[in-house]
């Protein structure tokens, strides 16, 4: 299957891909920023920080965020920690199944430079070679306060129309795909349980 076919099956708003922001796009961005659903798919050790962020003490729902069980309904994909090459494959599948517009947040130093796994053969070093990251949270691992702060920042970025990672992914798909194939061999496998 060629690269073009995979992108074509997803229907993108043409005006969303422009850099100029129209009036209706501003209104759309307000709705998109106020209601963020995250994918409840946690990789690595940062997943430990999410239960306190979701439950009563830090209460993620104040920002209109909530966990969603399926990538089709989610807006935000959280990459919480190191990514082994095997996990990266699943994360790429998951990211490509999400609907436009979609946002990606990288947690901790592992997604920035590999962290303590920087010289491991099984772990990737930089996430943004493979997927467009909108926002990084520093720390190993970030506290729930830092995570809430990040979500607030992401909300503001979306409202202003600055969270453009998914546009970058559509426009520079060839480059991302080259990097993905170099690390993984082949990315698109239809029957992933019998690969």
């Amino acid at each position: 299957m060629s690269n073009k076919d995979q992108i074509k099956e997803i229907n993108v708003f043409e005006e969303d891909l422009n850099d100029t922001i129209t009036f209706w796009e501003k209104i759309r961005n307000i709705f998109r920023g106020k209601s963020l659903w995250m994918l409840h798919y946690c990789t690595g050790c940062g997943a430990v920080e999410l239960p306190p962020t979701m439950t009563a003490r830090f209460d993620m729902e104040r920002l209109g965020m909530g966990p969603m069980a399926t990538p089709r309904q989610a807006d935000v994909l959280l990459v919480t920690g190191y990514l082994s090459v095997k996990t990266l494959r699943r994360v790429i599948y998951t990211y490509e199944q999400m609907m436009f517009p979609k946002y990606l947040v990288g947690f901790g130093s592992c997604t920035i430079n590999g962290g303590i796994y920087y010289d491991s053969y099984a772990v990737i070093n930089r996430l943004d070679y493979y997927l467009p990251v909108d926002l990084y949270v520093a720390g190993c691992m970030p506290r729930p306060e830092a995570i809430m702060n990040t979500f607030k920042t992401l909300e503001n970025m979306i409202t202003k129309g600055e969270a453009n990672g998914w546009k970058k992914y559509v426009e520079n798909y060839e480059w991302y795909r080259e990097n993905q194939i170099r690390s993984l061999g082949e990315v698109y496998v239809k029957d992933e349980f019998h690969e």
Binding site: I10, F31, A56, A69, Q73
Partner: protein, 300 residues
């Protein structure tokens, strides 16, 4: 004129139910000792999903979503909303129950058209649960219809208002009201009975393949279905009333549902069926026998 009334019922119902949905999220948050989202969060969610892109899995997938939304809106048009009835003489219990199935079946058709295995399992569970909660509810309501000789909802609401508050069926037919309330929990797929949408095991069940606009339309469908189902309970057991009374009763019933769902755990699907076929069906048979053989609880 009646179409104009029906249209305004849809608009008012949408605004009322969706803002109430946000309020209920606040109530749940208070039970959990959280702050919770603002009351307009449900509007934000709906408009956000409608502003996202979505993909299609074929004609049946698209058509089923529209059938579900249209069928449920059509059901709402026939429901007496307080003392406002859009189509006089057609606010029949059978019409509403018949049309409500169109919505659920459209969703079932569409979800199985998506070809996802979780969707298939979710649909199976949803239809099994429907089989469980419909039977006791129907037995109670048929007993009521037999006693009064009419199946018009506004008529049934009207006979309850003649003896004041104590004439409501929740006081004259308490067993039936309990059964109908448990069935209402099952209809709304709220937590003791949310086996069809089990995010922890089958990834939202029927909704698993929906995203963007399709999902937004299904959220709308769910809101309108909630309007119809809670409205049925208010009309049949709490005596309807004028628009203000109706909305207050609606709010109380829906808040009670929320309070129950925010503190309880979930049944497995076989537990749902055995539960409904054990306790509520016995209560409903007892209630119907009382109504038919002794006439106790029937307002004359």
């Amino acid at each position: 004129m009646s179409y104009l009334i029906a249209f305004s019922i849809i608009i008012i119902g949408f605004l009322w139910q969706v803002s109430l949905d946000g309020v209920q999220r606040k109530v749940t948050a208070k039970v959990h000792r959280r702050v919770g989202p603002p009351w307009y969060q449900a509007f934000m969610d709906i408009f956000k999903t409608l502003s996202k892109s979505s993909i299609s899995h074929g004609f049946i997938y698209d058509f089923g979503v529209m059938m579900a939304l249209g069928g449920t809106i059509a059901t709402l048009m026939f429901l007496p909303f307080g003392n406002i009835v859009a189509f006089e003489g057609l606010d029949n219990f059978f019409v509403i129950v018949y049309l409500l199935a169109v919505g659920s079946l459209g969703m079932a058709m569409s979800a199985s058209g998506s070809g996802n295995a979780w969707a298939g399992i979710g649909i199976m569970r949803a239809l099994t649960q429907m089989l469980a909660y419909e039977v006791p509810f129907m037995i109670v309501v048929f007993g009521m219809i037999h006693a009064y000789g009419t199946s018009s909802l506004s008529e049934l609401a009207h006979v309850q208002q003649m003896n004041g508050i104590l004439g409501w069926h929740i006081f004259t037919m308490p067993l039936g009201a309990i059964v109908a309330f448990i069935s209402l929990l099952g209809m709304l797929t709220k937590v003791p009975f949310d086996t069809p949408i089990a995010p922890a095991e089958i990834a939202s069940g029927p909704m698993v393949e929906y995203g963007g606009k399709h999902f937004g339309m299904l959220i709308l469908q769910h809101e309108f279905a909630t309007l119809v189902e809670v409205g049925l309970f208010v009309n049949l057991f709490l005596g309807g009333g004028n628009l203000l009374e109706y909305l207050i009763k609606y709010f109380l019933v829906y808040t009670l549902v929320t309070l129950i769902y925010s503190v309880s755990a979930r049944f497995r699907v076989e537990n749902v069926v055995t539960y409904f076929y054990r306790v509520p069906i016995i209560l409903s048979l007892v209630q119907t026998a009382i109504v038919i053989f002794t006439g106790l609880g029937v307002n004359v």
